[in-house]
């Protein structure tokens, strides 16, 4: 096995930077939806703040949920779309007959997921300051813990989506758009987990995102960082990432058996 090369990881990232650099509509689109979400939910939060004791308890609880939810969504989408772009451009065979290893490719996609999440979410986070006099950055260091846990969960889901695409071709592309929304009701971004029925709470507890949002509310309402939620989120993420990597490698091996690396498409 060849040694891991950060130069090759950088080359793949550079390939995606080239695309982003000259495609301003993409950059605008990446920031547009999180910003619109922030605006809509921000005004709703303002209204509810005077009509709901829950929201009044911490004005930023809804808007923080919205912005951090977008970290998960953009992270997953950033990972999946960076992979799908290689299929759209029929470039996958070129990449995989170079010395690029699947692990290096995955690391590059994680890096691009981070970049795309930052481009998408940070403008909304900054705009919330003049709009509502609310800064998510007041969460402090815990914000980094929440951000990276959601980003890695997004990457783990992205790995599973790309594994499906390697298995079923671009017919599975829509998974990139709806998989994360299937998890939305159980992730409890906007309400406490105790709002869910009992059976759903069991499922919710198995998601890293639920622990992130519970932790976020603890910081906003009580100013307390709940370490057990952090460790559970991190542990579950490590488990999900391992499953994702495994799924990707299994699909990659199958694609090599079936000849799909040259043919994968619609």
């Amino acid at each position: 096995m060849t040694s891991f090369s950060f130069n090759r990881v950088g080359a793949i990232c550079q390939r995606h930077f080239y695309v982003l650099r000259r495609s301003w509509p993409r950059l605008v689109e990446m920031a547009y939806w999180p910003t619109m979400q922030m605006v809509i939910w921000g005004f709703l939060s303002q209204f509810l703040a005077s009509n709901s004791s829950y929201i009044a308890g911490a004005f930023g609880v809804l808007i923080s949920g919205v912005m951090l939810w977008d970290v998960l969504f953009r992270g997953q989408l950033g990972f999946s779309l960076s992979f799908i772009e290689e299929l759209w451009s029929r470039n996958l065979a070129n990449l995989y007959c170079s010395p690029l290893t699947p692990l290096e490719h995955i690391v590059a996609l994680v890096a691009m997921s981070f970049v795309r999440a930052v481009i998408g979410v940070v403008p909304a986070m900054l705009l919330a300051i003049p709009f509502y006099d609310f800064s998510i950055f007041t969460l402090g260091v815990p914000l980094l813990a929440f951000f990276f846990n959601l980003l890695f969960m997004g990457c783990a889901l992205g790995l599973m989506v790309t594994a499906m695409i390697l298995r079923y071709g671009l017919a599975a592309e829509n998974m990139a758009w709806f998989l994360v929304f299937f998890l939305a009701p159980f992730s409890c971004a906007y309400y406490p987990m105790t709002s869910l029925p009992g059976w759903a709470q069991v499922f919710a507890l198995a998601l890293p995102s639920t622990h992130v949002f519970e932790g976020m509310r603890a910081v906003l309402f009580h100013g307390t960082f709940l370490w057990h939620h952090f460790f559970l989120a991190t542990g579950l993420n490590a488990f999900l990432c391992l499953i994702g990597i495994g799924a990707y490698l299994v699909s990659f091996a199958r694609a090599r058996r079936m000849g799909l690396l040259l043919q994968v498409g619609e």
């Binding site: 090759r8 080359a11 390939r15 495609s23 451009s89 007959c97 010395p99 090599r256 040259l262």
Partner: protein
């Protein structure tokens, strides 16, 4: 004088897709400085064979050794010493030719990226194309950029799948001449898959004629033409494709050698 080292050694290679045998017991070698052509119609197994050599496809049976490494276990030891070009694979259209070459130069671990691209641009006449989007280039220009990508790492083994498909005769002639020069200068081994007889006659030292995944005849282009009693390789190919033995005066068996 020492014999040229064997770069490619393929033994009893098979690839099955369900009940279909796409490649069925193929064996051959390619030595440094030589060009071997896989000649056959659509579905003969040319692209499948090349894909297995690249490691993009796992054989069902048989063994592939490249640079004396079994690629089933040591694929990543040899990938940096080879490269390929195929009309079935594209470079990202939204990137400029230069950006694509930079990416692949880095993937292949080339030290002086800018210098190597400048060198390739000069020999492949890419100077006016480097900063244009790859998607905006003509088929011939794209082929030259793809060739530049395939030669960036000065491969000792070059795998070419229909390298002049969709090119006009002038551009195709230019590409063939360039490949001949590259091989002469670098001593590279070339494995060429094509159904262009003129190309094979001109470039190949040895021709392997594939049909339904099997090698049904092989030899130098002149040898095949002589044995089949024909004027051109195309006529030989048609004889084999249509199961005719009209030119079999010199005793070709027409079976797997």
């Amino acid at each position: 004088m020492n014999a040229a080292p064997t770069i490619v050694r393929v033994e009893q290679l098979e690839k099955h897709f369900g009940t279909v045998k796409a490649v069925d017991g193929v064996s051959f070698t390619v030595e440094a400085g030589r060009t071997v052509a896989l000649l056959g119609g659509n579905g003969a197994g040319k692209t499948t064979t090349i894909s297995m050599l690249l490691g993009l496809l796992v054989p069902s049976a048989g063994r592939i050794s490249l640079f004396d490494h079994d690629i089933a276990r040591h694929r990543y030891k040899v990938l940096g010493r080879m490269n390929f070009s195929s009309p079935y694979v594209d470079l990202p259209h939204r990137l400029s030719a230069r950006e694509n070459l930079i990416i692949f130069a880095k993937l292949y671990g080339i030290k002086d990226v800018a210098g190597r691209i400048k060198e390739m641009a000069k020999v492949l006449d890419l100077d006016g194309l480097l900063d244009r989007r790859t998607g905006s280039l003509s088929a011939g220009q794209k082929t030259r950029v793809a060739l530049a990508k395939a030669l960036l790492n000065r491969p000792e083994l070059l795998l070419l799948d229909e390298p002049t498909a969709s090119l006009d005769p002038d551009t195709a002639d230019w590409v063939r001449r360039y490949l001949q020069n590259y091989q002469r200068d670098q001593g590279a081994a070339i494995l060429l898959a094509s159904h262009n007889m003129g190309e094979v006659e001109r470039l190949a030292d040895e021709v392997l004629i594939l049909r339904k995944g099997r090698i049904v005849d092989k030899g130098t282009p002149d040898d095949l033409i002589y044995r089949f009693g024909r004027q051109t390789l195309e006529e030989v190919f048609l004889d084999i494709a249509r199961d005719r033995r009209v030119g079999d005066a010199a005793g070709s068996t027409g079976t797997v050698p």
